[in-house]
Amino acid sequence: MPIILDKVSHIYGEDTAMAVRALDNISLVIPDGQFIGLIGHTGSGKSTLVQHLNGLMKATSGNIYFNGEDIDAEDFDKKKLRSKVGLVFQYPEHQLFETDVFADVCFGPKNLGLSKKEIELRAYEALKLVGLEDDYFYQSPFDLSGGQKRRVAIAGVLAMKPEVLILDEPTAGLDPKGRDEILDQISKLKRETGITVLLVSHSMDDVAKYVDRIIVMNKGSVMYDDVPKEVFRHYQELEEIGLAAPQVTYIMKDLRDRGYSVSDEITTIEEAREEIKSYFTRLVAVRKER
């Protein structure tokens, strides 16, 4: 179900001396089934924006529509919205509280008032989706490693069967291996279930590999909203606001500057490998002709 934001603004501490405009006139459409990366420097308003999408924060002005309904309307069921738009916060492992992993994942679906059988089925499915082995199910969540805790927390949201999954910096504080595992798992989940995924991050390298669309935020407004290739074309502007294109893009640009005729619109390592391979094939072909 699509989410539409119409001129949404949010001001912290309105009518005090310290008022901060965190969101400035944001209009966006999030259609079904997209994999979107939301990128911005610290303090650009990313986290504030995502908290509006499931009704945790109320826009100072503007409207948000979920499936055509205004989420700030009096009779709108916020609880239902939160089960449809699953939000995984930064460091979600800090929200774990139950005595064992399985019980914690059951918390979300239990709040939806489902039958015991349905709750347990959903919790099991969710834990499988995040790739946690059965051995851990009845352990205390506090005995797990950082990466495992995070999977449990993500499963806690997935167990509500959301149609839109929002992840706020899901890789913060993880080592490179844990980071790749989580991102691969999310991408796999996206492929298998077809849900809409919104990935919030400040790392282009994390995002470039997976998403179909990138929204770049700066100082509370949307700066770019396009497919990754188009967004990374503006790498100089991105640098100015404290972001950067993926490292591999810089390598390709460097190669091109040194006279190798490779494309500089490369955003992932796989693309780079293919491009370099085809460059050599072209080179060999040219030599043979001579």
């Binding site: 699953g86 509280f97 918390f107 709040n111």
Partner: protein, 275 residues
Amino acid sequence: MLRDITLGQYYQADSVIHRLDPRVKLGTTILFIISLFVFDGFWGYLVAALFLAVVIKLSKVPFKFMVRGMKSIVFLLSITVIFNLFLTPGEPIVHIWKLTITQEGLKLAILLSIRLGFLIIGSSVMTLTTTPNQLTDGLEKMLRPLNKMKVPVHEIAMMMSIALRFIPILMEETDKIMKAQLARCADFDSGNLIKKAKSLVPLLVPLFISAFRRANDLAMAMEARCYRGGDHRTKMKPLHYEKRDYIAYMIVIVYLVGGIAAGKLMPVLLGSMIL
């Protein structure tokens, strides 16, 4: 959600009162409170009111912040006033149903509400112009003599400032965890008392865990920097009295003497003038 609650109500401004040594402000507040109970009669309180007005003006803190402190005691104040009004024996003025308002009662009620009001405003001037850290610093230095009686003054002050410092952090943490559980469709508001208490478990368990984690981290960080506490510890900004602090003490003494004198002498003076 919890962002609106502020504790430690320091109001940032650049004024003489803000710059005063915290010990001066603590001492003055105590003396001011004592003065409210020593002064009697209209003239004494007029002096107190004038003193308070001048201090508020100097502090550059908007008056509405002082009144905000009053709101919390409105209930207490109204009970005190009502009890004094109706239950003090003496010369009756008005009869309402079975209750009587006496002259003495009216006088006592007015006196008490003035005392309580001034007391709250006076102490909020101090908390509004002094950061919690300055306050604990001031307290530590004032209570230093107790060290000789084996009271761990420094440790107590340190605990106080850490506790104060942790209030906003824990508030923020509560807000975050609350939102995370709300995102999992938690319900904190509905149901009876037992259900409500139960619904707090998903909030309190993570909060306690994070409080312990933070306390542990802080202890480690302090030990890593060789914190030993107590004796021989020097301060980055040691408190010392400046000229303005001595002047402030003098003004306070003049105020005390003036207030007492006004309370005793003015009626006599006025009496002789009329005669």
